[in-house]
């Protein structure tokens, strides 16, 4: 059971990292290079850019958090695997005795 749970955690961690990578690769994160005063000027432009930068940061930090969660999942998986290994060793010792 522990090994199955550990595998689930590892699978989820891999998935979360892939989602994080997708976010990192999103062209949306580089849209700010097409804005700025060389493209347009005015309050609406400013407001749009502000919203853009704020939401880009939201997405960038989301990717970071996904990686953090993935890291935590991997830690849990490692702990579960260690526990399973210890249980198996104990069982083997009992059988041998």
């Amino acid at each position: 059971m522990s090994r199955q749970q550990a595998a689930d955690y590892r699978r989820r961690a891999t998935h979360l990292r892939s989602v994080a990578a997708q976010i990192d690769d999103a062209p949306a994160l580089r849209l700010a290079t097409h804005t700025g005063p060389s493209t347009w000027l005015g309050p609406r432009a400013d407001a749009s850019e502000f919203a853009l930068r704020a939401s880009i940061w939201g997405a960038v930090s989301a990717a970071g958090e996904l990686r953090s969660t993935a890291w935590v999942f991997e830690q849990r998986a490692a702990e579960l695997e260690a526990a399973a290994l210890a249980a198996e060793a104990a069982h083997a010792a009992r059988v041998a005795a």
Binding site: R12, H15, L16, V19, A20, Q22, I23, D24, D25, A26, P27, A28, L29, R30, L31, A32, T33, H34, T35, G36, P37, S38, T39, W40, L41, G42, P43, R44, A45, A47, S48, A51, L52, R53, A54, S55, I56, W57, G58, A59, V60, S61, A62, A63, G64, E65, L66, R67, S68, T69, W71, V72, F73
Partner: protein
């Protein structure tokens, strides 16, 4: 309203926005752990769809040149941007600088990286330093052993110095998750403005609870914040500016709470920050007084937060109490001014720091801490000592301030009751003194005795610190009046006798004798007919008995016969 634009660039922006939206649509996940992240991706989608594309479409609907550009293959049309102006604004003089600012310094090995790639490289460097083991405070990120560190610093300087606003914004944002950013900005001579922004980002509430990968992430974070605070403390005005940033006070005030088990930030550094910002800065430059009051208002607001139910903690309580003492005159005036608490800086307009109930809560948060409590009691002493017989306004102010403190104590929770009870007694006596003084033309100020009484009532851990502080600052206290001293002596001994923890192995008989002596002196006071001489005799007896019961030598060492009997053998009125 758009006042100027380049049709070709606008068309390119629209096509890139559409491409970006397509990609965002493809990001999906059924894992609940990704729910929050996907919500932020969808938020970005909405901004692209409505704000950005909506704005471009609104322009193109009215300008045939943009529509034309939208129909053209735009890939090679960026060489010579043209500008249209719909108003008097004209082209922005620094328009191109936003994208191609003059970089400061020669290229480095990182110069070909985009901003995002540079941030990823910083993340890798953080993880590499994590692998070096437990960080050393003198070089927490292993700069001395990294071949890339100097180049990274040079590259960041080069871009930030070149007014790359994207780079600045990204550094500020990235500092929330990568403490190496804060450390570099703090220690490598970046601008004050960037230091404050990065420090605020590193200390934001969301950053505080963000998990940073790495085995030594907490230690790295604490060291980066320490470096930033040390840099900020170099300049009191900068310290004030930093504390004026939204959202930094609560995370700082609770950082060292045991409940969070974060790597601690040195308490004295935090205390320095508060006192430097709120006392030193306005002392050096009085024009900063209103800023200091505004920041004090931020602390008052922070005290209302549930996270601070147990007070500000030792890092902030004592320094804030010192701040309160430094600005006591302004507080005194405001305390009598109805519901809104407004502090008036010299030569400036009043700064509202909260309403009365908020201030009460703030004072309560300070008094949770023993040191904060003892400093507050010292303030009461200082205020009482300053009162002169004909200063009715001062009487009212002191009474109002005492009332605020009393309300603050009442407002606190049950855990606070034991300490609060004693403080209530202090405040009652303080208020009583003022009432008494009003009736008697204030013959009795009792500064020295009042101080010692307050110190005695300061209780447990606060006693020693307060005693040191008071003895250092009031060594030349004026002679106190014998009657006031006796009143205070009686009250302090009565309280101490009630406190089982500070009796030292006395017998029941000794304790009973001391209590009887208290009752005897009390009786003399309440009859209102005893002379000072009679009271002093009874008090001497009481002190003799109390010596066998109480272990605080400063209190029982007091000998009323050595006091200055300025009041003479005067009949005592009922208090």
């Amino acid at each position: 309203m758009i006042v100027g634009y380049d049709p070709a660039r606008l068309a390119r922006l629209r096509s890139e926005t559409v491409r970006a939206l397509d990609h965002l649509h493809s990001i999906r996940s059924d894992d609940p752990a990704a729910g929050d992240a996907l919500a932020r991706v969808r938020a970005l989608q909405r901004v692209l769809d409505s704000d950005l594309r909506g704005a471009v479409d609104a322009i193109s609907a009215t300008d045939p040149l943009v529509r034309s550009a939208l129909r053209t293959d735009l890939s090679g049309s960026l060489a010579a941007p043209r500008r249209h102006s719909t108003g008097g604004g004209g082209p922005h003089p620094g328009g191109e600088q936003f994208l191609h600012g003059d970089l400061i310094g020669p290229p480095t090995r990182f110069s070909s990286l985009t901003t995002l790639e540079l941030m990823r490289r910083l993340d890798q460097m953080l993880l590499e330093s994590d692998r070096l083991g437990s960080p050393d405070a003198s070089d927490p990120f292993g700069a001395s052993s990294s071949a890339e560190y100097a180049d990274m610093v040079a590259e960041l300087r080069r871009r930030v110095g070149g007014n790359d606003t994207d780079m600045r914004a990204m550094l500020v944002d990235h500092a929330a998750t990568n403490p190496l950013v804060g450390y570099i900005v703090a220690t490598e001579g970046f601008s004050d403005e960037l230091v404050v922004a990065v420090a605020a980002s590193s200390l934001s509430t969301s950053a505080k609870f963000l998990r940073v990968p790495g085995h030594h992430a907490d230690a790295h974070r604490a060291m980066a914040i320490t470096a930033l605070l040390e840099r900020i403390l170099d300049d009191p005005a900068l310290a004030l500016d930093f504390l004026d940033q939204p959202g930094v006070i609560e995370p700082l005030a609770t950082w060292n709470d045991d409940a969070f088990s974060f790597e601690r930030i040195d308490d004295s550094l935090l205390a320095d920050l508060v006192v430097t910002a709120l006392v030193a800065a306005p002392s050096i430059d009085t024009s900063l007084e209103s800023d200091a009051y505004r920041v004090l208002g931020r602390f008052v607001t922070a005290a209302q937060d549930d996270h601070l139910d147990l007070g500000f903690g030792p890092s902030f309580s004592a320094p804030l109490a010192v701040v309160l003492a430094a600005h006591a005159p302004a507080f005194l005036v405001s305390a009598t001014n109805g519901n809104s608490v407004t502090l008036v800086p010299r030569g400036g307009d009043g700064v509202r720091i909260g309403d009365r109930s908020e201030l009460v809560h703030f004072l309560g948060a300070l008094m949770h801490d023993p040191i904060g409590l003892s400093v507050m009691t010292s303030i009461l002493h200082d205020l009482a000592a300053d009162i002169t017989p004909d200063d009715e306004a001062r009487h009212q102010q002191f009474g109002a301030f005492s009332l605020l403190l009393r309300e603050a104590v009442d407002a606190e929770n049950d855990d606070f009751v034991a300490r609060a009870d004693q403080l209530v007694r202090v405040i009652d006596i303080g208020g009583g003194l003022v009432d008494f003084a009003a009736d008697q033309a204030l013959s009795y100020t009792g500064a020295g005795a009042f101080t010692r009484f307050l110190v005695g009532a300061g209780i447990d851990a606060g006693v020693d610190a307060a005693a040191d502080r008071v003895s250092a600052s009031h060594i030349d206290a004026p002679p106190f009046d014998a009657l006031a001293a006796l009143v205070l002596r009686l009250e302090s001994i009565r309280q101490l006798l009630d406190d089982a923890e500070i009796r030292h192995g006395s017998t029941d008989l000794e304790f009973d004798l001391a209590r009887r002596a208290v009752t005897a002196v009390d009786h003399l006071f309440t009859t209102g007919t005893a002379t000072i001489g009679e009271l002093e005799t009874a008090m001497t007896t009481l002190v003799e008995h109390a010596r066998h019961v109480i272990v605080i030598p400063e209190l029982v060492g007091f000998d009323p016969r050595h006091s200055d009997p300025a009041g003479g053998d005067r009949a005592v009125g009922t208090r």
